[in-house]
Symmetry: C2
Subunit: 408 residues, 2 copies
């Protein structure tokens, strides 16, 4: 699911089957985007002046202001905020992990990080034997064996997958539901191998959930290198004890916003084509690829139209969704809001990183049939792969509740 919307607005001009007049418009857009380099400049500004921006954080509020100010400064026809109530989870400063193996005199430090949404541990941490599993089925088959233990989910992402999203999809249930399944088996915590194909020392955070039917136990990611260390020790020794200390906690919900800007259509202003990304990010990096890129690309779509004096027939709307990472509240709020007299005819999301675009995935077969005819417009930049399937998390609710064809 390579999802890029960088240039996705071109088909708006190409509703007629004769693409010829649009070839030169498309090339003009490509050249202007490349020469102005504004998307990269905006991304640099967002990620260095604001930085990471987890929902509910001061930085998320700054990012809302930054987005609004940026679109206003660029002269968008309308810019506004739409309120969203978001979860407010904070990591805190304590994230420590150690292995206590019999064969080793000293505790071995392991690099761990709380998964987003996790509860913290008591101040002294949780110390328990670790038990390794590769799947929920394996855990369930253990019966009572996992009781009182730290459940170590160690199924790697499949490195042989060319599409890393496929590899991610094949492993990420351990992170999303690991704490639930660990608790259900009587475990005291979930320790999940980092979601990455790399062998590295960085524990990668990401979202996890709880379930009302079982107790909440902490969930943490362990770096892939340390996961190998722990796994090897478990092969050699009967009992390997692990300590994890996390100071994460969930605060009361916070007020935040989706940030919206648009250029009004000349002929059918009430028909809206949405281009979007998500403004929130995890708190361990800068949120450049995930998903600052999608936000600035959305702004860039309208900036380019304005700069080149191109007047779309329909309204093009850039939406910076809040809270994709740990709640999807922004995507839901956007879809639920009543918008009398307005009709969304398509929604495009970019949330696969700011790479060299190769094309689009279209999650609706009718829209796909149309878009595939426009592929040649994207050939000059090698972004002409149009595939059936895909979309984006933030525009999912719009698709499900209002039938808007998603693309990404």
């Amino acid at each position: 699911m390579k999802k890029f919307l960088f240039l996705a607005f071109i088909p708006l001009f190409a509703l007629a089957q004769n693409l010829q007049p649009y070839d030169s418009i498309a090339v003009g857009i490509f050249k202007r985007a490349l020469s102005d380099n504004k998307a990269y400049e905006m991304l640099y500004e967002l990620t260095t002046t604001v930085g990471h921006r987890l929902s509910g954080s001061p930085q998320a509020a700054q990012a809302v202001e930054w987005s609004k100010r940026t679109m206003e400064r660029l002269g968008f026809d309308r810019v506004w905020l739409e309120p969203v109530t978001v979860p407010h989870w904070v990591r805190g400063s304590v994230e420590h992990g150690t292995i206590l193996a019999r064969g080793s005199r000293k505790a071995i430090p392991i690099r761990i990080t709380a998964l987003g949404g996790s509860i913290g541990t008591p101040g002294e941490g949780i110390t328990a034997e670790a038990i390794e599993v590769k799947s929920f089925e394996e855990l369930q088959a253990l019966g009572d064996t996992a009781k009182g233990k730290i459940v170590f989910f160690n199924r790697p992402m499949d490195r042989t997958q060319f599409d890393t999203f496929t590899a991610y999809g094949g492993a990420v249930n351990q992170r999303g539901r690991g704490a639930i399944e660990a608790a259900r088996a009587g475990g005291v915590a979930a320790l999940v191998r980092s979601m990455t194909t790399r062998h590295d020392d960085f524990p990668h955070t990401g979202g996890m959930g709880y379930d009302e039917t079982v107790a909440k136990v902490p969930g943490a990611a362990i770096s892939t290198n340390d996961a190998e260390v722990l796994s090897n020790l478990l092969k050699k020794e009967k009992s390997v004890r692990v300590t994890i200390k996390l100071s994460a906690q969930t605060m009361p919900d916070a007020e935040s916003f989706n940030v919206v800007g648009e250029i009004r259509g000349t002929e059918k202003p009430d028909e809206v084509i949405l281009v979007g990304g998500h403004l929130d990010s995890w708190d361990k990096g800068q949120g450049a690829h995930d998903d600052g890129a999608g936000c600035v690309q959305s702004i860039e779509v309208i900036r380019l139209l304005k700069t080149l004096g191109l007047k779309p027939k329909r309204t093009i709307r850039a939406v910076m969704f809040m809270n994709e990472e740990n709640g999807l509240r922004g995507g839901r709020a956007y879809a639920e809001k009543e918008r009398p007299g307005e009709r969304h005819i398509a929604a495009i999301e970019s949330d696969a990183g700011g790479f060299n675009p190769r094309g689009f995935g279209v999650g609706d077969s009718t829209a796909y049939a149309k878009l595939v005819k426009w592929a040649s417009l994207f050939a000059p930049i090698g972004a002409d792969r149009i595939e059936l399937g895909g979309g984006g998390a933030d525009i999912g609710p719009l698709h499900r509740t209002r039938g808007v064809p998603p693309s990404g």
Copy 2:
């Protein structure tokens, strides 16, 4: 000219028109390459334990040893060195530049670097008025005006080109022949805007040449940001003086090597398919993209065949060429060497960086017609764009002197 040979050996198995049996072999190769991750590991080792490796430098000698040892350790059928006499240019430690403008009390430092092959300046540097031109034609039209001046070549790479090699090709003559043309116009040095589409503070080095018909004057690159500073000053003031100090010098030619390893063909061992990259690099970075990537990809081709137990009908030969950057002596020496009883039937070079591959350029129409039929084999990893045109600098001599179809 996207040139990637990462997986280029697959067509060797596909000489029959029926590709079906090769589909699964190809996929097996892709998966193994991805899961082993050895190409990246080798690249990391080369670029961190050896680092940059300019022809004639101690690091270049270490890189030769590293390549030989690596291929031997991987169990290649044969590994050997082929001597090449290379130019030995050294940068030295002094690279200073300043602008002395009338409107400014203090000298403004500019970031410059000697172009590869440049002579140095006297110890006190060269101080002269700068004169800006965008082309050789503009310089020639100036008549005597450039006499005694530092000629500042400031034609940017065209950022609107999607293919950055095209943008590079449109600007690089300023670097390659700037010092010659400056001298011909009576100038005392050439100062060339860095070859990059970025606006940054890093002066980028690269090759330049001299001509026996005119005096040798120093050639230096100036960072794109400082090129803008200088250009703006020149617009405002009549006389802007620039000082450049460079300690570069050319030593006597040095002995070096092309490093060669191969897997022997089972049916036609005397028919050779060459895959190559260049081992030397410039001395300002690590030479990862240019062209450590091409070298490790070449090694990886044979490592994968060995690992998977695949036995090619023809001999596959990996060549790490020496001295692509400032002389092409390795490519020439390889082509000139007589190899009785041996026939090269194709040569593939990777020298466009270690990116996600998109396909191949083929510089021979007959070979192109064949290769294009095998495109579907590369579709699983999205590398199925086969284009007519392209090749590589190192395999150019083999193509010109022996008619070997080039690809990259």
